[in-house]
């Protein structure tokens, strides 16, 4: 949906890498400083949502697929991870892994069903599928319905690192986030990513060049679902719970808002968007439903006047193409 130059000369690549690296250092510094400035729990939540938005952006920004049901991956992994850690007593890393695998499998099934349709059909199918998962979570016994899974133990990573210590938990979440963020960067800047962008720009052409477009789209969808799952599972460990909020339709809408506001098809856009949206919810919480109204207003404003998003506008002003 946004126009990124797909081809770049060898000299330009190194400059773009330097720009990306400069921004990355700034982000690292901010992550290091953040817990001393803001409430650490809030920062960790924001990082989880930022990862969720990066996963979503992989589809909308680089394949041009708008998924309006991404909460199903966040929520499913969150529930499974919470259940694995609490009931099965798994190590947090293993519990997160189980959650991620579950989301990836769900992503494979949902992707196989929806990927054959394009554009708005794709969007509507993802809405319906995620609603199905939502009702499943309402009914299934292990999710405990309206109560959700409470009191998830944070446990020790490999039996050594105690995540119930806030500082260690923060480092753990930051590492998970950076891992997910760099996975997206790596995937987009690989031959695989180039083919995804080619599909976005001109699908019939990519088919005529002999690429099995459906397989590439499905692979991107599964990767996105797995990363969304990583965000959801980590969030379950951070917040020590899993609830219907994570799997509900409002969450699917929020991740679209985060990405749109920050800038679709930019690496840092979803991160910025997630932080803005989460802060907005946090600081405007006492205004109740006005948050929804404001979010709707931001949606409308972004779509009408501001389609490149915050980072997209900055990147285009600086002529930095690889933020």
């Amino acid at each position: 949906m946004s126009a990124n130059p797909v081809v770049a000369s060898a000299g330009a690549v190194s400059r773009e890498t330097r720009q990306f690296a400069a921004a990355f250092l700034v982000m690292l510094a901010l992550i290091a400083v953040a817990p001393f400035v803001a409430y650490p729990f809030f920062v960790m939540q924001a990082l989880c949502f930022a990862l969720f938005a990066c996963a979503f952006n992989l589809l909308i920004g680089y394949v041009g697929l708008l998924s309006l049901g991404h909460a199903m991956f966040l929520g499913a992994a969150s529930y499974v991870c919470a259940h694995a850690a609490k009931v099965w007593g798994l190590d947090p890393v293993l519990a997160i892994l189980v959650g991620v695998v579950c989301s990836a499998v769900l992503g494979f099934v949902a992707g196989a069903l929806s990927i054959r349709s394009q554009g708005i059909y794709f969007a509507m199918i993802t809405v319906a599928l995620s609603q199905m998962i939502y009702f499943f979570c309402v009914e299934a016994p292990f999710t405990h319905g309206e109560d959700g899974v409470q009191g998830v133990p944070q446990g020790r990573v490999f039996g050594l690192i105690d995540l119930s210590q806030p500082a260690l938990l923060y480092v753990f979440v930051a590492v998970v986030f950076l891992f997910g963020f760099l996975t997206v960067y790596r995937a987009v800047n690989s031959p695989f990513g180039e083919i995804l962008k080619a599909i976005r720009e001109n699908e019939p052409r990519a088919i005529s060049l002999g690429y099995r477009v459906q397989r590439y789209k499905l692979a991107a969808f599964v990767l996105s679902a797995a990363l969304a799952g990583l965000a959801g599972a980590t969030k379950a460990i951070v917040g020590q719970n899993a609830s219907l909020t994570d799997v509900g339709f409002a969450m699917s809408g929020e991740v679209v808002l985060m990405t749109l506001l920050g800038g679709m098809g930019t690496f840092y856009g979803p991160v910025v968007g997630a932080i803005v949206v989460v802060s907005m919810q946090n600081y405007l919480a006492q205004y109740g439903q006005w948050v929804t109204v404001i979010q709707g207003g931001v949606f409308v404003a972004c779509v009408l006047a501001f389609r490149r998003g915050v980072v997209g506008e900055i990147a285009s002003a600086l002529k930095w193409t690889s933020l």
């Binding site: 949906m1 708008l66 309006l68 069903l113 929806s114 054959r116 349709s117 394009q118 554009g119 708005i120 059909y121 969007a123 509507m124 199918i125 809405v127 319906a128 599928l129 609603q131 199905m132 009702f135 499943f136 309402v138 009914e139 339709f249 809408g253 679209v256 749109l260 109740g288 439903q289 006005w290 948050v291 929804t292 109204v293 404001i294 979010q295 709707g296 207003g297 931001v298 949606f299 409308v300 972004c302 779509v303 009408l304 389609r307």
Partner: protein
């Protein structure tokens, strides 16, 4: 098949009736979506919110202006339809020629705003709307009691759906609309005001949603959340029927309502998900939907 409990005829016909009622709303809503999509290539995400507005307008007309149900049946679609036309004229028109995903996101944002504003004002709980006295009471059909109002909703919805189909497929106005859908530039060259047709079409589709809202008001309560609850199911109905097929959306709407009702009798745990499961199966077999032409 063996079911753990005996199912009485009363239960079966009762759920069948509820299914037909829900099917009426699905049909009216998906029909509106199909009409709007056909003309504007816009998936109107605000459809659920506008359906909810229809019910609220009916409520206000009764409690603020003393205008009864029958006035609301005409007034609410007109008022909400005019609101829709305003949205089209001021906002959607700016997105013409862009990727249709943007108009979807715009209507999504509008849905959030409308939803949030009503929730602020009225909270999450429902407000009752009385059944009009002319339609109170019920008929004994021998095997079940048929409340008059419910019979009216089913009959009237079916009438409106088929009238819409007739106008679009069989009349001169419909021919203009279809021409404008097929080739807007050529249609304009023949001297027809295509932008105005687009605005009126959007207003009409929104009006259908509001009409469904008025019909729903005495059955379900008037609640800000009523639109969100129904929109995902309606999307699934549209995907199953095939986008852009007028008759397809009507038939699918009624049928799925009935299927949902029957599921409540035979396997209640699945009644919320059955429509989505059917959608998944249809997508596997016929990706373009049962009545659709192209994916």
């Amino acid at each position: 098949m063996f079911f753990g409990h005996a199912i009485t005829a009363q239960q079966l016909f009762g759920q069948l009736l509820i299914g037909l009622i829900n099917g009426s709303f699905y049909a009216l809503l998906s029909l509106g979506l199909a009409v709007i999509f056909g003309m504007l290539n816009v998936v109107n995400f605000a459809h659920g919110a506008l359906y909810m507005m229809g019910a609220f307008v009916a409520y206000f007309l009764l409690h603020e202006f003393g205008l009864n149900y029958w006035w609301a049946l005409i007034g609410a679609p007109l008022i909400v339809g005019a609101f829709g036309a305003l949205i089209e004229r001021t906002l959607l028109v700016r997105l013409r020629g862009l990727d249709p995903l943007y108009s979807l996101l715009l209507t999504f944002g509008l849905a959030l705003m409308i939803q949030g504003l009503f929730q602020n004002e009225f909270g999450a709980s429902g407000m009752p709307y009385a059944i009009p006295p002319q339609l109170a009471g019920a008929h004994n059909l021998g095997f079940m009691f048929l409340p008059n109002y419910r019979a009216w909703v089913i009959g009237f919805s079916a009438f409106v759906c088929f009238a819409t189909w007739f106008v679009i497929e069989k009349t001169r106005i419909g021919a203009y609309l279809r021409a404008a859908t097929e080739n807007p530039t050529m249609t304009r060259a023949f001297g027809l005001n295509v932008p105005r047709m687009i605005t009126l079409t959007y207003g009409f589709g929104v009006g259908l949603a509001a009409l469904a809202g008025v019909l729903a008001a005495p059955i379900n309560q008037v609640r800000p959340g009523m639109g969100v609850d129904i929109i995902a199911v309606v999307f699934a109905v549209v995907v199953i029927g095939g986008m852009g097929s007028i008759l397809g959306s009507i038939i699918t709407g009624f049928t799925l309502g009935v299927v949902e009702g029957l599921t409540k009798v035979f396997y209640p745990e699945a009644s919320n998900t059955v429509v989505f499961v059917i959608m998944a199966v249809v997508l596997l077999i016929k990706p373009a939907g049962l009545f659709g032409k192209v994916a």
